[in-house]
């Protein structure tokens, strides 16, 4: 194990400052600083607030990661950093920091794709990823279905949300129900005591005419509006809103669409492995539903533990480790942060 390269990963694409250290598929450190509380009162991530927080957090977070792993920057073989997609100003802090570390420590730097890193992080939990695999990435910022033929060199997008991200829908519905931000964990908790069949909320882009053009795409904006209308009608009639039932029914609708399309992608492409990542992968209902339905079709579901599903530095280090092991060349020192980095680009 000791002869495998030691890789450091830096993540700053949204509101989490993450520094992770891995050797091969072994996680040595995963230090995180979050600015989530500073965004709570705005109901979403404020880019400038996030960028300021990254600048303050990066050095202490690096310190913690190095201590946790018991290594120094001189021991590191390569530095990986999220180059995109994400918030432009936030990404730039991480990319500039990574270059500073790389120049000073005279190490190579890899600018990597955040979404591919969400897939790669599962290798820290379950070992090498069988290829091809289908990946479902769902968070407050992204909702994508991907075909992973070769994680080191290219990932093929199958579909994505055409409006809100899944996690964003959770946040908005939570706000509607008077639950705190970020909404995911609160909806999940409320839903446990609710009836998922109480209200029939719409399943976006699942009608035959939609499937013809958006087979693997998602839409959560209509669902969010339907929940708002339902809640408003209840309030107008003077009746109490059954928060647990609304949460459970909403969550069921989101998970149903996500799992249905992910399994369809696996079956129609003859793929036997489904990887789920992103913050919404921490949702308890999504995990159970995916495993139940996948098992019926002989598909194996891989979901890393919740802490690795949300944004972190370990995922970036995991992808960096995979790139180094695959012999991919490092990035140039003038690598840009790219807020709209395409999935077909795994590293810059």
């Amino acid at each position: 194990m000791a002869d495998q390269p030691l890789i450091l990963g830096i993540e700053t694409s949204c509101d989490e400052t993450g520094v992770g250290i891995v050797r091969g598929h072994t996680l040595l450190a995963d230090a995180l600083a979050s600015s989530v509380e500073q965004h709570a009162r705005f109901g979403g991530v404020v880019p400038e607030v996030a960028s300021r927080a990254h600048l303050e957090a990066i050095v202490p977070t690096m310190d913690r990661a190095l201590k946790e792993a018991g290594v120094t920057l001189a021991d590191i073989d390569a530095i990986a950093v999220t180059a995109g997609p994400g918030l432009a100003g936030a990404l730039l802090v991480g990319v500039a920091a990574a270059k500073g570390y790389a120049v000073a420590a005279e190490k190579p730097v890899y600018g990597v794709n955040h979404l591919a890193a969400h897939v790669a992080v599962d290798t820290l939990e379950h070992g090498p990823l069988p290829e091809p695999a289908v990946a479902l990435l769902v968070s407050g910022g992204h909702s994508s279905l991907l075909m992973v033929d070769d994680l080191a060199n290219g990932v093929t997008p199958l579909g994505a949300t055409i409006d809100d991200a899944a996690g964003e829908a959770f946040d908005k519905v939570a706000r509607l129900l008077g639950l705190p931000f970020p909404g995911g964990p609160y909806i999940d908790r409320e839903a446990r005591s609710g009836d998922a069949a109480a209200i029939a909320f719409p399943r976006g882009l699942t009608a035959p005419k939609d499937l013809a053009t958006h087979r693997y795409d998602f839409s959560f904006s209509g669902l969010k509006t339907a929940v708002a209308r339902w809640v408003e009608a209840r309030q107008r009639s003077g009746e109490p809103v059954p928060v647990a039932d609304v949460a459970a029914s909403f969550q069921e609708a989101v998970c149903d669409v996500l799992v249905r399309k992910a399994i369809d992608a696996c079956r129609s492409n003859g793929v036997e492995t489904l990887v789920i990542g992103g913050g919404v992968a921490a949702n308890s209902r999504l995990r159970v539903m995916a495993e139940d339905r996948a098992a019926r079709h002989g598909i194996r579901v891989r979901v890393p533990r919740p802490k690795l599903c949300t944004d972190n530095g370990a995922m970036v280090a995991a992808l960096g480790s995979h790139l180094v092991a695959s012999g991919v060349a490092p990035s140039r020192l003038d690598l840009p942060a790219d807020s709209a980095m395409p999935l077909t680009q795994v590293s810059v």
Binding site: C14, H39, F42, G43, G44, V45, V46, P47, E48, V49, R52, L55, I58, V59, M62, D63, L73, P85, G86, L87, A88, G89, L92, V93, V95, A96, A97, A98, K99, G100, Y101, A102, V103, A104, A105, E106, H114, S139, G141, H142, S143, S144, P157, G159, A160, T161, D163, D164, A165, E168, L333, D334, L335, P336, A337, S339, A340, M341, P342, L343
Partner: protein, 268 residues
Amino acid sequence: MPQRYQPLSDIAARTTPSRPHRVRPPPRPAGPRPSGGRIGLLTVLVLVVDSSTPAVTAALVEVSAEGVALRAGRCTVDARAHGELLAPQVDAVLAEAGARPADLAAIVAGLGPGPFTGLRVGLVTAAAMGQVLDIPTYGVCSLDAIGYPAAAGEPVLAASDARRRELYWAVYDGAGERIAGPNVDLPAEAAVRARDLGVTVAVGDGAHRYADTLGLPVRVEPRYPDPYALARLAAGRIRSGAPSEQLTPLYLRRPDAVAATGHKSVLP
């Protein structure tokens, strides 16, 4: 087209006049390094970075008891590429000076004020390098590196572009000491404050841009923070081995509190 990696030819030849009475007795030819972190009589290599204006600057300077001397510099004017340009420029000045990062004794960074996104590039680069090399980092107000070298006996207004039709500005007395600012204001407001302070001349990119509103003659140089001046303004701290400073940007504005929506939904 942005200019890439132009040497700072205009400042390359300059060195500080020697000031023998300010520091230390005359050098001993050899001996142990002075204790207590003081560089004393040694000459140390210092990296200077500034990304507070459209000019992205990296320079290597030598700081000794006698003064400050520029060894290598790169400055590129491109308001949209701070993140791309700075690290290669740091690499380039090190290569030009035949130095390795481990040879650095300190890093000086311009703290702004400046447009936030670009400003952070210089500060996080300096902080990261300082952490790896375990050397102190020192901050200097970037406007000081315009106003201080421009001062010549009369009060001067130094200004850089703050976008949104505003200026980052400060006023310096005839000796280059800051007597007002740094602030961010409309050019007309800055002009009133400057006139109250007896300012007769303006300097800096912001002064060029709003010369009509300011109603002051504009000195051509320096247009952007001068790395040599940044080093001189931190030289006292470098020589005395002052504790490392956290590089906190001079933001002067509160963040726009508008939450992002769907920012990562980048696929068609």
